[in-house]
Symmetry: C2
Subunit: 496 residues, 2 copies
Amino acid sequence: MEHVRLMENDNLDTFFNPKSVAIIGATKNPDKAGQVIFKNFANNKKRGIFKGKIYPVNPREVTILGFKCYSRITEIPEELELVVIVVPARVVPQIMEDAVAKRVKTAIIITAGFREIGEKDLEKQVVSIAKKAGIRILGPNCLGVYYSKTGVDTLFLPETKVLTTGDEIIATPRPMFGEIAIVTQSGAFGIAALDYLAGRQIGISKFVSFGNKSDVTETEVIHYLLSDKETKVILLYVEDIKHGRRFLEIAKAVTLKKPIVALKSGKSIAGARAAASHTGAIAGSDKVYDTVFKQTGVFRAKDMEEFFDAGKALSMQPPALGKNIGILTDAGGPGIMAVDECESKGLVVNHFSDETLNKFQELKNQKVLPKFAATSNPVDLTGSVTDEMYEVAVDLMFQDPEIHGIILLGLHHLPALKEKYIDGVARISGRYKKPIVMCDIGETEMALYTRFRFDKLGIPAYPSPEDAARAMNALVQYGQFLIKNSYEKEYLSNFF
Amino acid sequence: MEHVRLMENDNLDTFFNPKSVAIIGATKNPDKAGQVIFKNFANNKKRGIFKGKIYPVNPREVTILGFKCYSRITEIPEELELVVIVVPARVVPQIMEDAVAKRVKTAIIITAGFREIGEKDLEKQVVSIAKKAGIRILGPNCLGVYYSKTGVDTLFLPETKVLTTGDEIIATPRPMFGEIAIVTQSGAFGIAALDYLAGRQIGISKFVSFGNKSDVTETEVIHYLLSDKETKVILLYVEDIKHGRRFLEIAKAVTLKKPIVALKSGKSIAGARAAASHTGAIAGSDKVYDTVFKQTGVFRAKDMEEFFDAGKALSMQPPALGKNIGILTDAGGPGIMAVDECESKGLVVNHFSDETLNKFQELKNQKVLPKFAATSNPVDLTGSVTDEMYEVAVDLMFQDPEIHGIILLGLHHLPALKEKYIDGVARISGRYKKPIVMCDIGETEMALYTRFRFDKLGIPAYPSPEDAARAMNALVQYGQFLIKNSYEKEYLSNFF
């Protein structure tokens, strides 16, 4: 499985690293997608981020934002690698003929109005023109690519909006650079994901919205990302999957190297019907998808929140090489909530071994831990909790070979608990090859501080005990897949 | 069912409206619970919020924060209604004897170290002393009461904390006044709930943490809240329920007047074991709880997030009098996600009637809605969405008698959508007796603004399509319960 044959996807790189790009439909009208996209490139060019050449194409303009404008791409004197198409659907075949003549490598068709509204023939026509010259197409009916390192940004949603009050407000932020790739069939959901991740301060490596996938499919994109060193985890939103057998082969090759989290919508009958009118997806039986994801080691998220939560956990922590979870808490109720969610997902929260129990008892005898602390599993440090107690207890739990992962519930409200333990726990966890996730509940200053600090130190933090348990479940499921494929050692060696 | 006999709970009012209170274990030591609680009362007294008398009780002090200190409550010259006990467990029986002598009405025992650690006899002893004089006990092992209107605040978690850096930071905020009551067995979870609600700007009417419930039970508290005009929705966290038959009777009487949302933990075997060592709860079979909640019309949340989300929906919107949900979106993918979640909960997302379909077609013909908008259910306004389209479409959906509730997905990213429609939709929804919930995805400026503005106008807003669908499900389930009990008309008359 390691040496999966590279097929058609060896030229996808031009989508992310084009030496030259033309925006067909660039305009001076600020409300139009063609203006927003061209401005993205122009700004990134001026900032020195986009290092290639850029060409606005519009027969009615002479210059746009100071760049010489061309009527057709065939008039561009130099070589052209990527075209971004933002003109009405009926014009696209002609544009594609020009692209063939110009020998471009890749085309991103933002334009909607193809298969998703029944215009299958128009879509086929465009693809067949492109095929003649081996042009690869992303879309149509998509948002295309965002890659902060090279400044490719075909998102037609401007970063800010001016409200009716005149206030300018952040509307579609681009997240910072990071290790998660977003691959999405739905453009709107993709944009929403960027907004979510930016706000949660989670970075992304690459963003690809592929829409109707008339040519480049989800499978080819994840195949491309297999060898992308910047991508550690792939978040994949799909409404259907094309070429199932090929997906099975590629997805498994990818998940042996890096995790994929999938959000597959159109599960229900009404949902599948809605999907069909969205991107023309024919969803098929949802159970088939369950099987495909299971066989390929793709973690299927049950909803949007689990999608992001699992991605965050898998990008920050190693997989769990077993199902027995240790829970450490200073709050009884939330501890129970975490246990319930673990068990509902098939994880176990076993009693500790006698050895670990004895070590805890010793700590209680030495008055390092409170006399009435519960010290089986979960460990409840009670309302007397201090920073030191967390450090001592978490270290002891990491040492137990029967514990495969730790959920730390650090509710900050208790009086003697400060913030010192956060760095302490992160330092200790760095010494072990086991995953740890944490939860603090609350939406005001200290809760936000606690979670962001844990995140920053590489321990993914969540706002509810169940979220933390579900994140741990993703780490367990991924570990189970690697074990089944005798792959855990090689994988872990990448991690440490 | 309407005239459920008032039993023992007619004197619970003193917990919330005491004319005088003594804090036994008040101290000058700022790290101690006795100091925090006394300071809460002293501050509220100084601010003119707490209008009764307050007495610190501590044999080793003469005054605390300027208030004359007493060695024992029997030395207090005036009448005493409420005692708050924050002294070690072994001393509590003697304190209770004094309380009997002093003829106090109610006692909040914050102190832990009773039944939850096996000291059942000590707990029984305290209760039997109190019974002699009819003193009602909240606790032990609890946080007691927070009621912002009268300034009763027995929470020993200070609002701010000083970190090791010297920075003072908000740690345990008290939410603003509102319509949701929090009733909780777990103190730590209760505190976390306050932090969550404060951050989300959701107000509370009363907070009651009852811990070991040696005397006052969850049933009595919800019974008390039945006639509390300030409480519109009750959020109940329990690990077990005492006196099941009585709960059945009271809970049903309450839910016919106001919704209860329950989070019952200890569902799993390991969870039940953890609960037993937390508050001494004997959880029993989880299926029994499912039945009890179903019979009484209590909405059982599957996790913390659904608990708060359902509470918010039920406090802001009327119940749905049917299961058919209309979905209005500007983003295909998230629309499908909402449909999937609705169907997974047993709601339906039916095709519209011909009449509604025709009306939508007319709007498309008039170019009020985009030509390619999907106008069955879900309605997808597409990337060309404007504020006006939302207003027109939502009004049309409200008019359809076959639609029982609306989920509006208002992803703010699309270029021509501003913020005007928010007030427009709220104005329109005010004309109909049907619930509406909304979702916008994102964690930066405009997403936060959009959700807060909808919340403020009484339309509960959620950060994911599935959260919105689950909130709608709570409104549907509650509606189903009211219909089954032929109660919907009376209930709705309270609402409008």
